[in-house]
Symmetry: C2
Subunit: 406 residues, 2 copies
């Protein structure tokens, strides 16, 4: 009865898919499977910007772990990982400790603020259910305060988004759709509200096709979004932000700054002593860390070079889900004493960025460009496909996105 202990840390895209695949492929007598997470739910990080804007309720974004994981086959531990001790084959939790024979690290990302003064204290990030729902509340609160101040404060109506990457632009798209509703709710003139996106590169969505970027900017500007590109955030104060553009510093009064310009791997992988490259573990082809044969790392904590581009694969849900296939296969192989581990191979199926519920841009297989309605449909197909993979038809029916006509 000496079954190996498989411990999976984190229930994001990578950790959840690994767990679900192993619970299907491993027999009950082959191994003990333990999943550790700091919430009793999984959430779709790629939907959080909608929760933050208030266009989608956060309960649509999260999925109770017990609805997807078979609790008869998997031990679930609700706790926070504090450290990994690979020499001792142990994981230190806030309220305890776990031993493992095989470890899967899928601890996701955290915000990176690059030492910009005031960001940690004064800006919000779209990192999890709690922080996303707080942004929604914070914006509503400032709108509600507007007519209660003896002197009207424009900083309550200026919303600054630092970063014009994927998250920043997707959030801006949702927010632009939400503002008219909020103005109605709080009796505020729509023309007073400013949504300001600040991006360091000369254009937003760096890396995207320039034609699609232009489409996206036009779509958002038509809904009142202002873009300040080629500008660097210098400081985030309690009631304003300062950016630098063309060697001049400009201050914008705002009580709402959302920092969407940087993520890094969960710092636990670095502090636990694995060799890291820009905070991530450069894993072997079989997704194991260089130093230990019993530790896998995937998702935002792992770094894999894309041989086609010479750059690392981006920290996306798509990559994390594909990696989980390799990890699950290789964990099973180790358990069964099979030394032939498979190598990770990415299949980039395309990338779609939403610009609100009714607009999107994207590039799919063979570099086909999409925008508008077709891209919106494609985005929802991607979202729904994940739900189907994770929890089957019943989960898709409960959490899927089917409202393609607006």
């Amino acid at each position: 009865m000496n079954k190996p202990n498989i411990v999976i840390l984190g229930a994001g895209y990578g950790g959840m898919m690994t767990t679900v695949k192993l619970q299907k492929s491993l027999g009950l007598n082959e191994a003990v499977l333990t999943l550790v997470n700091n919430n009793d739910y999984h959430y779709q990080t790629t939907w959080l910007h909608e929760n933050a804007a208030g266009t989608l309720h956060h309960d649509r974004t999260r999925i109770p772990i017990k609805e997807v994981v078979n609790m008869n086959k998997v031990n679930f531990v609700l706790d926070t990982v504090v450290a990994i001790k690979p020499e001792e084959k142990k994981v230190k939790l806030k309220n305890g400790e776990l031993s493992y024979d095989i470890l899967v690290v899928a601890l996701g990302f955290e915000a990176a603020t690059f030492g910009i003064p005031g960001l940690t204290e004064n800006a919000f990030t779209i990192g999890n259910i709690n922080s996303a729902r707080l942004i929604r509340e914070h914006i509503e609160y400032n709108f509600a305060m507007y007519h209660n101040d003896s002197k009207k404060n424009q900083a309550r109506l200026n919303i600054v988004i630092g970063g014009g990457g994927f998250t920043g632009i997707e959030f801006v798209g949702e927010l632009a759709n939400r503002i008219p509703e909020l103005c109605k709710e709080y009796d505020i003139d729509k023309n007073l509200v400013r949504i300001i996106n600040i991006e360091g590169s000369p254009a937003v969505l760096p890396g995207f096709d320039p034609q699609l970027v232009e489409y996206a900017m036009n779509s958002l500007e038509a809904r009142g979004v202002e873009f300040i590109t080629g500008a660097l955030l210098k400081e985030c104060k309690p009631a304003s932000i300062v950016y630098e553009k063309d060697n001049k510093e400009v201050e914008i009064p705002t009580l709402t700054t959302i920092w969407a310009a940087g993520v890094r791997a969960n710092s636990i992988v670095e502090t636990s002593g694995f060799t890291t490259n820009r905070g991530k573990v450069e894993v072997r082809k079989d997704m194991r860390v260089p130093e230990y044969d019993d530790v896998f790392v995937l998702g935002d904590c792992a770094l894999i070079m894309n041989p086609d581009t010479g750059c690392p694969f981006p920290p996306t849900a798509q990559i994390a889900i594909q990696e989980s296939q390799t990890v699950a296969h290789n964990v099973k192989a180790l358990i069964q004493g099979n030394d032939e581990l498979e190598s990770f191979e990415a299949k980039i199926l395309g990338t779609v960025a939403s610009l609100g519920a009714n607009d999107a841009i994207g590039v799919i297989l063979n570099n086909r460009k999409l925008f508008g309605f077709k891209a919106t449909v494609m985005k929802k197909i991607i979202d729904n496909r994940y739900l189907l993979k994770l929890g089957g038809f019943s989960l898709l029916m409960r959490k899927g996105k089917f409202n393609i006509f607006y």
Copy 2:
């Protein structure tokens, strides 16, 4: 073409009902009717506690003035009254000035804080649509912040209500019903939330029948409300309140204090030079101020002694609405050169205090006591009756309360 100018200040219960009555009873050629208000809507002050608790949307509570007032017959001025100059027969507004031949002052109440330190800065009041909706947002915001603080802060979940009078108790009743919903929304353990009502008298709802008060306290305590009676609020700090009871000072950490223990007449009646008694104008039997024959005051700005009790009538919607009948009648008489003005006579039809949507207590005609379901129904009948009077059947259908079964 020398038609007399009738100017009505304020679109609360008294001002609105006076306007609606005069627009019906006066011919277009008899007078020019002007209504001044600082919002383009009327609202039901007696429903604001529901908006503040978040159990009723504020758009149910407010009624656009143009939906009730015939804009072909009445000039509506959206402005704030700054001062009344009865010697010059003028009203100074923030953005202008109006002359009148007959003036009706119905400027309502403002919060009275009795000089308690910190109340003005740190406590909320349920005074209008803006302040009520802010309370709703403020509570939600603190619940949303709870899981975002690195150290959990109980002050976010403690809600203190200063005052166990009508408004305080009605608000507490709504809030007790709302908390379970809020806890679900923000993943907070219901048992951590405290609703604390602080009242200076030995029991809440002073003046109410003791049996009904006991019923009310039991109903609310069963829903988790804590009562601290015989206690005086000493100070409201940014993150706590201090009260004194039995000569001991106690501090409760809270970020949410709602002050519902005192209202006074709009201070404009005092600063405009009318003789006042505790801030109100002790009007003549015909509702005119003692010094001027062309100025009427009603509602919360007027003081009339109840001959049966020797005390002033309370500042209620019921009294204001009854006074508007006398004012409208007497304004019309003056216009028509009729010197026989009628005297105000109150008909107290009863008082019902709600304890949330599904419970209430009340005393109706002939001191009949009501509680529970019957009182709830009676409360809704009173609310609906006003809508019928103000805007007829169509307004009742749009804004009435018909959901008596919960």
